[in-house]
């Protein structure tokens, strides 16, 4: 795991780094720190990371405007901030967790734990309502309500929307899955579907399973996941 910490207070950055090392022993590859987001951005281009720990109020500036560009990235974002007013909005835009300051190691650890379990473990208010997509240098915001299903495409994920549009997101399917609400189910290694869109399940010979969506799309269903899926749907 590669981690980047963006924090302007040296002692707090020190604390975060220390705790990351303690929590992620064994899996931690590198920890980098930056004091400004511009500095971090440059470093991220050179060395992509898996998780970004970010303080929104760097040097007194309000970070909400940079949040959108951050969540469009390929990495997961954990906000570590003093001002919890912004927590709700941060979650809406698809951060993995929002850790208020001051924080204990346990709290930080539970944030990292979400990498595996995903947002579905937590309260519904902490799932994303928008996904930020990087397009032509800008960031475009796609409401999650518009997303029918998500298809993995290598290091990217393709969001398929109700109106037929397809948007490419920098995050992998796993990472997107961690942010989406529980009614999105991973039906296949490469497919994530909104359950309410499934109208029928088909089983073919040779253990080939398919899910039919409202708009007629047919998506493959993983063998191991079929039983679970059928149970969930009925």
């Amino acid at each position: 795991m590669k981690v980047m910490i963006v924090e302007d207070e040296p002692l707090i950055a020190q604390r975060l780094e220390r705790m990351c090392r303690e929590i992620l022993t064994g899996t931690l590859e590198s920890v980098r720190t930056a004091e400004t987001f511009e500095g971090a951005r440059a470093a991220l281009l050179e060395h992509p990371v898996d998780v970004l720990l970010l303080d929104l109020n760097l040097h007194g500036h309000d970070g909400m405007d940079l949040l959108q560009s951050v969540v469009a990235g390929a990495f997961h974002t954990i906000i570590v901030s003093a001002n919890i007013d912004q927590a709700l909005r941060a979650f809406e835009y698809g951060v993995l967790d929002f850790v208020p300051k001051p924080f204990t190691r346990e709290r930080l650890a539970s944030a990292f734990a979400r990498l595996g379990a995903g947002a579905r473990g937590g309260p519904p208010s902490q799932t994303a309502r928008y996904l930020a997509v990087r397009k032509h240098g800008r960031v475009e915001v796609v409401p999650v309500d518009d997303v029918v299903h998500v298809q993995g495409a290598g290091n990217y994920a393709e969001l398929v929307l109700r109106d037929g549009r397809r948007e490419l997101h920098d995050k992998t399917l796993e990472r997107i899955a961690a942010l989406l609400p529980p009614d999105f189910e991973r039906i296949h290694k490469s497919h994530l579907v909104r359950l309410s869109e499934i109208v029928a399940l088909h089983a073919h010979e040779g253990s080939q399973y398919e899910a039919e969506l409202r708009d007629g799309t047919i998506l493959p269903v993983g063998r191991t996941r079929y039983k679970e899926l059928r149970a969930r749907l009925s």
Binding site: E9, P10, T36, F37, L58, H59, D62, N83, K101, P102
Partner: protein, 588 residues
């Protein structure tokens, strides 16, 4: 400004004087016509036969007075002399005309009244010299005995002396009215009744305004209006005294003089109240000019007291008009109401100059007083609203200050730092905790204040910088140039600017200096806060984020020094500079 006004006033005065003079050539007859009833009192202007000396035979109807002097009503009778006799005839109408059994006499003389040779009534004691004269009542209503009510002519004789008439004039007027006895009495009471209304209203108004002044708002204008209402009541009491009470005739001139004096005082009080209310400059000059004008009028009045009152009131109203017009030009609150009142007043004065002391009194004096009261109320209302708004603003500012300082960013980051440091560097943790406690203590102390000593504000800044130094591992210092003296500033004025300046990144171990330069004179002070540039954080030109920080500063400045402050901020080579200037700091 004042000379122009005085000129205008003189012109207006001349105009009004001329018109007023023609109106009041003859002092108005006190008898009020207009009652339709047949027994209504009718003034009599009989031809008087006059003879000096004293002989009881002159009362007899059959005495030959053809050689006696004839005097018309306009000529009057001699004053400051006695004894003399006056004879005239009175007609009694035939039935079915109602009987005119009452005779009303008003004269500044003592007399014995004979009708057809019989002594009917005496007023006072007629005296051959001043010492032996005893003044009788000014007004008498005499019931004519039934025996003397036979239709036809009757002879009335008056044996009179007028040593103590009191007026400077050499002649006096004999006011006569004949009519129903009851009607005469009723008429007299009626004349006083209007005054009673005004006395009541004036006293009530005086009490209300006085209580308002005492308990609610100690404005001099209110007190002057209360005094004016009281004087109006007193004036009307003096006026009514003649009709509802009675007094010896030698009190007549002092009473008229007192009435005129109270009119002058009333006019002066109204003018003074207006000067106070509109906060005019050179009030003493205005009042002195008014006083001089009134004194001049008094001296030149020639003893016609009614005209004197009219002129005094006119002068006062003209001054009031001038002041109010100026106030309307300067857009003072309530000026238009008062102007309307004064115009009504002047209108009433010009329409019925004879009645300003009686029927028109309420209009003449009441209108401007009402206008003033309305204006004062308007003012009070506006001030209360402004005070409420200021209170709300003050409360909001206090809350904002507290919120600012316990806002998560500062507190939580500091606590996190303490957490980090407490195990590895307890001494540093203790310093941080102490500094944090000190800042909170100071803020709690000052947040409810409007102004705090500048030294306290600077201490607050230093504490804050100490905390930030410990947190960021940067040496923040505050350098102060100039004397703080006993200057007072709103709480967190400089702290907010320092906080804004802390948004710049600084390298660890670096020394960063904030500067505050103070220049002060008795009239104004100037604070220059320079926040160092530091390492640019990506925001161009080192402009710190505005928003709530400066909004708070501006609101506090306006609260403490309304309309007397300026704030300018801009980039300088050293960093970001904010200049605050405040004028007239000594005004409460």
């Amino acid at each position: 400004m004042v000379p122009r006004c005085v000129l205008l006033l003189l012109v207006a005065w001349a105009v009004l004087h001329a018109s007023a003079a023609t109106e009041t050539q003859h002092p108005p007859v006190r008898v009020q016509l207009g009652l339709e009833s047949p027994s209504a009192p009718v003034p009599r202007f009989p031809i008087l036969r006059f003879r000096r000396g004293d002989d009881p035979r002159w009362a007899a109807p059959d005495h030959d007075d053809s050689a006696w002097e004839t005097r018309g009503y306009a000529e009057g009778l001699p004053a400051h002399t006695g004894v003399y006799w006056v004879r005239f005839t009175l007609d009694q109408a035939r039935p079915p005309s109602p009987l005119r059994d009452g005779l009303a006499i008003g004269v500044v003389a003592s007399y014995d009244l004979f009708i057809d040779g019989q002594l009917i009534a005496s007023s006072g004691v007629v005296g051959a010299d001043r010492e032996s004269e005893v003044p009788g009542r000014l007004d008498n209503i005499i019931r004519i005995p039934d025996a003397l009510l036979t239709p036809g002519e009757h002879l009335v004789a008056l044996r009179m002396s007028a040593w103590r008439s009191g007026f400077k004039a050499d002649t006096l007027r004999l006011n006569l009215a004949i009519g129903g006895y009851r009607a005469l009495i009723e008429r007299r009471v009626e004349q006083g009744s209007v005054s009673v209304v005004v006395i009541g209203a004036g006293l009530a108004l005086a009490v209300v305004l006085g209580v308002l002044w005492w308990l609610v708002e100690r404005r001099r204008a209110l007190l002057l209006l209360a005094a004016a209402a009281l004087v109006a009541a007193v004036m009307q009491a003096l006026q009514a005294w003649r009709y509802l009470g009675a007094y010896p005739f030698d009190w007549h001139r002092p009473r008229l003089s007192a009435i005129a004096m109270s009119v002058a005082i009333l006019g002066g009080l109204i003018v003074a109240a207006l000067l106070e209310f509109f906060e005019m400059r050179r009030r003493t000059l205005w009042l002195a000019t008014l006083g001089a004008g009134m004194a001049a009028i008094w001296v030149l009045s020639g003893g016609w007291y009614h005209r004197l009152s009219l002129q005094l009131m006119t002068l006062a109203l003209l001054f009031a008009l001038a002041i109010t017009v100026l106030a309307v030009r300067r857009d003072r609150t309530g000026a238009r109401f008062i102007l309307a009142g004064i115009l009504v007043s002047l209108g009433a004065l010009m329409a019925e100059p004879a009645e300003i002391l009686e029927r028109s009194f309420i209009l003449t004096f009441g209108a401007p007083i009402l206008g003033c009261v309305t204006a004062v109320s308007l003012n009070l209302r506006n001030e209360r609203r402004a005070a409420r708004r200021a209170q709300i603003t003050a409360a909001r500012l206090e809350i904002e200050l507290l919120r600012k300082q316990i806002q998560p960013h500062f507190v939580m980051n500091t606590l996190t730092t303490i957490l980090e440091v407490v195990e590895h560097d307890p001494k540093a943790a203790v310093s941080l905790i102490e500094a944090l406690a000190e800042e909170f203590r100071a803020l709690a102390h000052v947040s409810s204040e409007r102004r705090i000593p500048l030294t306290q504000e600077l201490d607050l800044c230093r504490t804050h910088l100490r905390i930030m130094s410990l947190r960021k591992d940067v040496r923040y210092t505050l350098h102060v140039e100039g004397e703080t003296l006993d200057l007072e500033v709103p709480p967190a004025l400089l702290l907010t600017l320092v906080e804004n300046g802390l948004t710049h990144a600084a390298a660890r171990g670096q020394s960063v200096e904030f500067r505050v330069a103070i220049t002060a004179s008795p009239e104004r002070f100037r604070l220059v806060v320079t926040a160092p540039a530091g390492t640019p954080t990506g925001r161009a030109g080192g402009a710190p984020p505005e928003g709530t920080g400066l909004r708070y500063v501006r609101a506090r400045l306006e609260e403490s020094f309304p309309g007397r402050w300026t704030l300018e901020a801009g980039a300088v080579p050293e960093g970001w500079r904010t200049v605050i200037e405040v004028k007239e700091t000594r005004r409460p």
